[in-house]
């Protein structure tokens, strides 16, 4: 009988480190074809509608940028966390709190207008996201809680808090009872980049600037070195004099601020008011973006555009073929699944073992024997 075995590589493979996202994307396409075929749709037609048509006109590219901007902003911040081996899963909540803090000015003080309004809103958004991210950071450093659980659970708190706000204290009194705030005034709206061509706003520029800045931080600056050392070998980091607790706060505050900026940009630019639901799961999808982009800010720009396309494509197949919009989640899930799977190839190679090779086979087992002995 034939079987497959994973053999550890002596060094990480640079080739597969680069190829892995592409292999993952190809596998996603194959699995997606099977999915569409099972749904009774010609896969080729479906892929044309999903991946090609949504970006065949200039205004559609603007829509792509609108969807990509929050993904890139959030993922760039998350990449710093993940490089530091800190697992912030709650960017969705930090996104929402950024949107809420940033909306204080236009919702509670609509009479305040002028060129200062927008910068203050963006600043408030970043402060809000960072403050919300500080909660899991404090719980982790103070009480040693697992940041994966706390940051994730705080997402639901944020969602329900926003829901309560727009149905209660912040509801537009002239809104016929709809759960939403007043429309933001003109000076509180994030301007569009090229109003004649499409809707894309300054959020996309912020995303690109953030990616380049974080790229410089991680590759060229002492702070980025600190992140990488503490993430890869914490004991060496302690020997270097870097504090792990300080790093937890740094990573959470930075990623929280960027998620918060994404939140206020989305509300101020694309939506124009607060609603019960302001995100189609950007904070979670950004986790996929971060890994698909190999935790490299420049790679994240490309990955953000790809994942943005899965949103647009999902809407397109829903209207054109009548397929549930849940297909978006399925595609994103498969992509993350295959990315993580393919990353195994960076550290391992696959060996096919047939009957003829039983001798080598038993040798491989014996190599594992000393470990078994220690365990005994």
């Amino acid at each position: 009988m034939m079987r497959l075995e994973l053999v550890k590589r002596p060094q990480r493979s640079a080739l597969f480190s680069m190829l892995s996202p592409f292999i993952a994307f190809a596998l996603t396409i194959i699995a997606g074809a099977v999915l569409f075929a099972l749904l009774g749709v010609n896969p080729l037609t479906a892929f044309r509608i999903y991946f090609v048509e949504p970006i065949s006109q200039v205004w559609q590219l603007h829509e792509l940028a609108i969807k990509a901007a929050p993904l890139i902003l959030i993922a760039v911040g998350l990449s710093v966390c993940y490089k530091a081996n800190i697992w912030n899963i709650g960017a969705e909540g930090q996104f929402i709190f950024g949107a809420i803090f940033g909306s204080i000015l236009p919702v509670l003080f609509p009479q305040f207008e002028g060129p200062l309004v927008l910068p203050l809103m963006l600043l408030c958004g970043m402060v809000g996201g960072a403050a919300y991210a500080a909660i899991p950071a404090m719980l982790k450093t103070r009480f040693g809680t697992n940041e994966i659980l706390t940051s994730l659970m705080l997402v639901y708190v944020a969602q329900l808090f926003l829901d309560w706000l727009v149905r209660g204290p912040w509801r537009d009194p002239q809104g016929h009872g709809f759960p939403q705030t007043i429309q933001f005034g003109d000076s509180a709206v994030l301007p569009e980049l090229m109003p004649d061509a499409g809707r894309a706003n300054w959020g996309f520029v912020f995303a690109l600037v953030a990616a380049v800045l974080v790229w410089i931080l991680m590759g060229r600056m002492l702070k980025g070195f600190e992140v990488r050392v503490l993430g890869s070998s914490p004991r060496a980091g302690r020997f270097a004099g870097f504090g792990l607790n300080r790093m937890v706060f740094f990573a959470f505050l930075l990623s929280g601020a960027l998620a918060g900026l994404a939140g206020i940009c989305e509300v101020s630019g694309a939506i124009g008011q607060l609603q019960p639901v302001i995100s189609p799961g950007y904070g979670f999808t950004a986790i996929i973006v971060a890994f698909l982009g190999r935790l490299n800010p420049l790679g994240i720009i490309a990955a953000g555009l790809v994942l943005a396309l899965t949103y647009l494509g999902g809407e397109a197949v829903q209207s054109a073929l009548g397929i549930s919009d849940k297909v978006v989640r399925v595609f994103q899930g498969m992509l993350l699944f295959f990315v993580l799977g393919c990353d195994t190839l960076i550290h391992y190679r696959i060996r096919v073992i047939g009957l003829a090779l039983t001798k080598q086979d038993s040798a491989a087992k014996l190599e594992a024997a000393p470990k078994l002995k220690e365990a005994r």
């Binding site: 600056m221 070998s233 020997f239 040798a363 024997a369």
Partner: protein
């Protein structure tokens, strides 16, 4: 030396190995090894780190399968496919690193490895009988966690003897023992030999090989470079066979007027509670290291050396700021960075993962310990790293310490242990620190690199720095120290000037003869 191997199959050899070869990728770890072990002999397997000793032994014990070559057991060709098969043949092994559960008793640990379902009480009785007859005092009911390293080794040996092996393989057995404990072990080995059992004794300690072994096989770079009778060789000639060339002796000029030199590192009543149930508490440690001298701290592993290093380096800070003073300033409350800025430098025991980040380049690992002390040279405005300056400095260190590597700026993990250690020590020496604290400076480092590192430490002290060396290698400490103190169970003895120190005195202290434990003399059989 250089005697040929006679290919007799008449049964006087218990084990014969012919042309045994093991290849890992492009590396030939064992290249056509020939080895004969006669009945009732203690046979030494000598070689530096990486010479292929462990690979050879793993093939004999069945944990690795050779690519080619033959093994004869009592004249019969055999294939040893697993450690279980090796045990059935009558081959037993005592590993360098023990595999014992600390929370179980000695007898329970033995029962786990026997795996034959006999009741603990009968195993304990057998173990007690064996320990009595071989002069290996051991209480089978005692918890492993409470036992010294030497006692734990006895469990391993008894567990091996219970399987009545004909051949016992011992891997570096004395590296964790005091000289007196080692003496006890040698008595046991001689007794086993007199019963006709054979022993394969792996070591790089030449004096003890000369003392107890009948024959020796020397490996270098995976090949047998000679068979010899160690009693007819000198330590120098054995070392030459192992290393392939003359190892330069370390020179240590005597220091004068050290009493009047300023104390650059002062430790006053340093105490620390154990951080985990199995770590050691530090008790009231005081020590002065003066400008111009090397102080050595001896001790069996696990007597608080790691805890002591962490406390002195500032990886763990003290409540009492005066408990550690560097160049006359209180440093107990400072972080490792603060202590470095006072002029101190540190080299920890673990190279990969503590002294260096394995997956980072050497230049980045230079930045690891020097980003603060050399902040102006290596870090520019706004926290930008000056890559070119860091790279140039790392190349300077690589050259000064003769670090051998395959790429201009390889990852730390890609270097051999000795070369990485040379880099890590060189990284600190390059700063000309006034205080240098080193834990296990040459652990697992080949003889040539070790001599280089030791000489560099002596030279640093002679240029006016205070050097503190923690080591388990007594030969090393006697070679480089001006005075030796001994750490036992978290306490530190007063430093003994090197002129007064002997192996025996230091050994007694290592066994716990002086501070504390006064009633605890060495166990007798």
């Amino acid at each position: 030396m250089g005697g040929t191997v006679s290919a007799n199959h008449d049964g006087t050899n218990l084990l014969e190995v012919r042309g045994l070869t093991k290849i890992f990728g492009t590396l030939t770890a064992c290249d056509h090894i020939d080895l004969n072990i006669a009945k009732g002999e203690i046979h030494a397997l000598l070689g530096e780190n990486g010479a292929g000793k462990s690979t050879l032994v793993k093939m004999l014990f069945g944990s690795l399968e050779p690519n080619s070559g033959e093994i004869f057991w009592n004249g019969q060709a055999v294939r040893i496919t697993s450690p279980g098969a090796a045990k059935k043949l009558g081959i037993g092994m005592v590993f360098q690193h023990f595999s014992l559960f600390e929370a179980l008793t000695a007898a329970e640990n033995i029962a786990l490895s026997l795996d034959d379902g006999s009741p603990i009480s009968s195993i304990a009785a057998k173990a007690r009988a064996l320990s009595f007859s071989y002069g290996l005092p051991l209480d089978p009911e005692s918890l492993v966690g409470d036992l010294s390293v030497g006692e734990r080794q006895r469990i391993e040996i008894i567990r091996c003897l219970l399987q009545t092996p004909q051949l016992i393989i011992l891997d570096e057995p004395t590296s964790v023992l005091t000289p007196q404990e080692a003496d006890k072990l040698f008595e046991t080995l001689e007794r086993l030999r007199s019963e006709g059992k054979s022993i394969l004794y792996i070591s790089h300690r030449l004096e003890e090989v000369k003392r107890i072994c009948d024959r020796a096989t020397v490996l270098r770079h995976g090949k047998v470079v000679g068979h010899c009778n160690p009693r007819e060789e000198t330590a120098a000639s054995l070392a030459r066979m192992m290393v392939g060339n003359e190892v330069q002796a370390v020179e240590r000029a005597p220091v004068e007027g050290i009493e009047t030199a300023p104390s650059l590192l002062e430790i006053r009543n340093l105490s620390r509670k154990p951080a985990t149930p199995f770590s050691i508490a530090l008790k009231n440690i005081s020590l002065d290291v003066r400008a111009g001298e090397v102080i050595g701290i001896a001790g069996v592993a696990g007597n608080g050396q790691g805890e002591f290093f962490e406390s002195v380096s500032g990886e763990v800070q003290q409540h009492d700021a005066a408990s550690v003073r560097i160049r006359g300033k209180n440093a107990g409350g400072l972080t490792i960075t603060g202590r470095r800025l006072l002029g101190a430098a540190f080299v920890p025991e673990e190279r990969l993962g503590h002294g260096a980040a394995p997956r980072m380049k050497l230049s980045e690992n230079l930045l690891l310990s020097r980003h603060a002390t050399d902040g102006k040279a290596f870090v520019g405005t706004g926290g930008m790293v000056k890559g070119a300056a860091v790279y140039a400095a790392s190349q300077r260190i690589i050259e000064a310490m003769d670090v051998r590597k395959s790429a201009p700026d390889p990852e730390a993990a890609a270097l051999s242990g000795g070369n990485l250690q040379k880099f890590i020590v060189g990284r600190e020496l390059d700063r000309r620190p006034s205080v240098m604290v080193v834990n296990q400076p040459t652990w697992g480092v080949d003889a040539g690199a070790a001599a280089h590192i030791r000489q560099a430490l002596i030279e640093l002290s002679r240029s006016g720095s205070a050097v503190l060396v923690i080591s388990q290698d007594l030969d090393e400490l006697f070679e480089i120290s001006d005075a030796i103190a001994v750490m036992h169970n978290g306490e530190l003895s007063r430093p003994m000037p090197i002129a007064e120190a002997t192996f025996e005195k230091v050994g007694l202290l290592m066994g716990g003869a002086e501070p504390g434990h006064a009633e605890h003399t060495l166990e007798t059989a």
